[in-house]
């Protein structure tokens, strides 16, 4: 809590309101998966930021894994089946 107060004191000169920041943080909190963080509860901003960092790292990891998988799949398939796959996944 004290960190938030000091932050508003620091940023008072740059006209960033505490309310603005907490609104942005709560918006961020909504994005996080519910398994990691209980939504609808007032969670300290530091915790939200921490969870956000972890979540972004896990998303990066997931994208990496998917990239490897996609590269393998694309290797063994030709263009027509790749295009068919695109259309199919679009329709699903």
């Amino acid at each position: 809590m004290s960190s938030r107060r000091s932050r508003s004191r620091q940023s008072g000169s740059s006209r960033i309101t505490e309310e603005q920041i907490s609104e942005l943080v709560s918006k961020l909190q909504d994005l996080l998966p519910e398994a990691r963080l209980q939504s609808n509860a007032r969670v300290p901003s530091a915790r939200v930021l921490q969870e956000t960092c972890n979540y972004i790292r896990s998303l990066h990891q997931e994208v990496d894994d998917l990239s490897v998988r996609l590269s393998e799949l694309l290797e063994t398939s030709d263009m027509s089946s790749a295009q068919a796959a695109i259309i199919r996944s679009l329709l699903m």
Binding site: S3, H60, V63, D64, L74, S89, M92
Partner: protein, 214 residues
């Protein structure tokens, strides 16, 4: 227009639900920052289809480039796919966000470095991994509150957001996370469809026991 209804991971399913809830909430009229309420639904509807066409082009070009010149192990090619996917994601953002501009800017620089490096030896250090490593190594905090430290870590994770103000950083992070979620959903659906199709074609197609619905 319904976005992809099939989810491969529970996280994606929750994201879908939240996306629908947010669409209703935005329709009810939420007073927030200017163009912000348009952003959440953007990553969940038409944009998803637009980014598909960009990804398709990138992926096809990659396959052609990869097959013509042996780019090495699967990890290298996977990284190439990842970078293409990131670039397509950044293009879909239409340059309105810091992170998308940073991705496109860094890719141009890195592409030229890769070209030169490929002539000598295959070595492509991803800048994202380097930034994360440097973040772990230094861990410095000029201002005392741990909030600033976490914000700094976040600034390192989101590309191009190291020197932004705190509220801007939060906005960028919000958009970046939604974009990443969409990227994961899209790539997962693509991988499922591709594996289903290649499985069907390899087994002969007709009367295959594999379920066609992924």
């Amino acid at each position: 227009m319904a976005s992809t209804s099939s989810s491969t991971t529970p996280a994606a399913a929750e994201v879908e639900e939240r996306g629908r809830k947010r669409k209703r909430a935005d329709g009810a009229g939420s007073t927030a920052a200017g163009g912000a309420e348009a952003q959440p639904s953007k990553w969940r509807t038409r944009r998803e289809h637009e980014i598909y066409s960009s990804k398709l082009l990138e992926a096809i070009r990659l396959v052609r480039a990869g097959s013509s010149s042996s780019s090495g192990s699967g990890a290298t090619r996977g990284r190439a796919v990842r970078e293409a996917a990131d670039r397509a994601l950044a293009v879909a953002a239409r340059g309105r966000t810091h992170w998308s501009r940073a991705i496109l800017a860094s890719r141009r620089r890195r592409f030229q470095a890769v070209r030169r490096a490929r002539l000598r030896a295959p070595a492509t250090p991803p800048s994202r991994h380097n930034a994360a490593a440097s973040a772990a190594a230094t861990g410095q905090g000029s201002s005392a509150p741990p909030l600033a430290e976490k914000a700094r870590m976040l600034g390192w994770l989101v590309p191009g957001c190291r020197r932004l103000s705190f509220p801007t950083l939060l906005e960028e992070t919000t958009d970046y996370i939604e974009a990443l979620q969409m990227q994961v959903r899209t790539m997962a659906a693509l991988a499922e469809a591709l594996s289903a199709i290649s499985a069907n074609s390899s087994s002969g197609g007709a009367g295959s026991s594999n379920s066609s619905a992924a």
